[in-house]
Symmetry: C2
Subunit: 365 residues, 2 copies
């Protein structure tokens, strides 16, 4: 808090003097973002992958654990992990972002997990296609949704619940939806959903239910807390708004130069500097990434690189001739449907889907 | 913030109305604690291990990387990772705690990484003994310390620096000090120090320098920032105080029952409940763990279990007959030298070595 870095903007996007509540710091210490320099890896190292855990990480006993498949099906099942591993195998690199990423940059700020920018990562998930399991179970013609229930349990919105989310039959039956038991080639770690989790590429992370306990075909829209009380684009406590679904177009930059420990202010050496990062957009592709080094007044196209799969982020880079002084770096992506990131933070009651352009203030010396 | 959990203490030890600074939330989102339910594992899963990164995680190129061993030695070396892996191998389970663990529970609260209780974990580290490497390098009789420099670079205390810490010759030559290239049986992940890190069992984590670049024998006490400007038990900005060294005796409990998402308030079902946790103390052993269910007025002995190695935490458990109402659970450990945890938070200027007893408020229903 002393010395040269005290008065300089750190580019976090937070206002000077912002203060945070005890509830927010407790959640920030439990949940885990990717350090933004981790964007340098096309596949995020397992221990760097972001994590949002609603309740406690359950202690699953795989000897007793069974995935039950029931509800409106003609052939109910209870499968061991070994039985699931013997089914057809598919491996997909998939980018996952928390729907609340960017919440703490909104003003006013909804009080929940106070993500700034770090709740996104990419992993290679290995599992078996959900669709084939549903076909084998024989979904009744009365069914309209598939409900996924996790082993994790706690209170939210004053309601004791297991974590539960549903998908429409058509979404649940998409090719790329997996029941995953490996992450980056190794068995799931407990915090990532061991023994089995759902992976729904393109959607925000709340849909990829961890610690799967049961799958049920149901005949109406599931109205549990995680569908109606959270994960909505709403404008007030009593507004249902629209459900949060696919990830909005977004790009992030690896912060260049060196940080100050306390303030995270960045210092960059003058001269040629390669700015790099990743961009993604639900199920769409990234067709353009633009850079601004003057706070968003003027923009230049970045170069687009590879993506690990059609469901993963695309690399971009930009050669910057850094001249001494303070610079406000911004990055903005556009997807194949023509959606572009907004310059200012969108506002909604629960702090969902904030895809405003990232801004990083740096001092070039 | 609404409903039944609003008015109830959450047992974090923080005061109602405490607010946190932007600098603290930024650090809390970058650095990672162990979710306390992770204390159930004798060896912490890799991705749950706590992490404190001063600057940015470096991008080491192992093809170019060499560990240089120099300074006051007769046989300077520059070793590839393969050459280091061919040296004698030792594997040690070691508990590591951040010296700043508990900082955010102090009042007044030093502004830095705002750990509450979660900056401790245990891993199995595989590497080669430092002592044999130093012997081969031939340490000069003029040398008094060994200096360790990491690849990570940034500003702290207004000083641009690589992360650097030193050890006395006698500490550096202890049997258990390792140059580690594997964690839990796999190559180090980038965030844990890839390709090579120092592991100094018994000491707080700042000593186990990550991303090792060079090792130098030097003829005086190293006075760099991380030795003199930080990691001191001091009482004011201009007080040097004593250096932080071995981990103080401490015990932690897995929070029982179920949490509320936002407040982390715990609810426990009435009846027989097994309380469990881990306790550790530098290089010493744990000889006693005591539980209190009335906020520290009365204490009962817990059962002591195994520890994965002489350098790792010891399991404990306690059978509790939980009766309805609010209860303030506390746990306190004593080591083989007779050191016991204090009931109130120790105070020092940098927020180091807080080993006060953990308190968890729970509602039994």
């Amino acid at each position: 808090m002393t010395g040269r870095f005290h008065a300089v903007g750190d580019g976090s996007g937070l206002e000077k003097g912002d203060s945070f509540h005890r509830e927010e710091i407790q959640l920030a210490l439990r949940n885990r973002g990717i350090p933004l320099e981790g964007l340098r890896y096309p596949i995020t190292p397992t221990g760097m992958h972001y994590l949002l855990t609603h309740f406690d990480i359950p202690d699953a006993d795989v000897a007793k654990w069974r995935l039950t498949v029931g509800g409106l099906v003609s052939n109910p099942m209870a499968l061991t992990l070994d039985e699931i591993r013997k089914r057809p195998v598919r491996r997909i690199a998939s980018t996952m972002e928390c729907a609340g990423n960017g919440r703490a940059l909104m003003s006013p700020r909804p009080i929940s997990q106070p993500w700034m920018l770090e709740a996104v990562s990419t992993a290679e998930w290995t599992g078996t296609p959900l669709r084939e399991l549903l076909a084998e179970a024989g979904i009744s013609t009365e069914a309209v949704e598939v409900l996924f229930t996790g082993l994790d349990k706690g209170f939210q919105g004053d309601e004791l619940q297991h974590y539960q989310r549903s998908l429409s039959l058509s979404e649940a039956n998409r090719d790329e939806v997996l029941l995953a038991y490996e992450m980056n080639g190794l068995p799931l770690q407990p915090q990532h959903g061991y023994p089995l989790r759902l992976i729904v590429p393109g959607w925000y992370g709340m849909t990829s239910v961890k610690w799967l306990d049961r799958i049920e075909a149901i005949d109406k829209s599931f109205d549990g807390y995680q569908m109606t009380g959270s994960y909505r684009y709403s404008q007030a406590a009593d507004d249902q708004g629209e459900p949060v679904t696919l990830m909005r177009v977004r790009s992030l930059m690896v912060p260049p130069g060196f940080p100050d420990f306390l303030t995270r202010t960045r210092v960059v050496n003058a001269g040629q500097t390669r700015l790099t990062g990743r961009a993604w957009a639900g199920r769409s592709d990234i067709v353009r990434v633009e850079l601004s080094t003057d706070g968003g007044y003027s923009w230049s196209d970045a170069n687009l690189g590879e993506r690990p799969s059609p469901f993963a982020w695309r690399e971009w880079w930009f050669e910057w001739e850094a001249i001494p002084g303070e610079h406000d770096l911004c990055v903005r992506a556009t997807d194949a449907e023509g959606n572009t990131q907004p310059l200012s933070q969108p506002l909604n009651f629960l702090g969902m889907g904030n895809n405003a352009v990232q801004r990083i203030s740096v001092m070039v010396e």
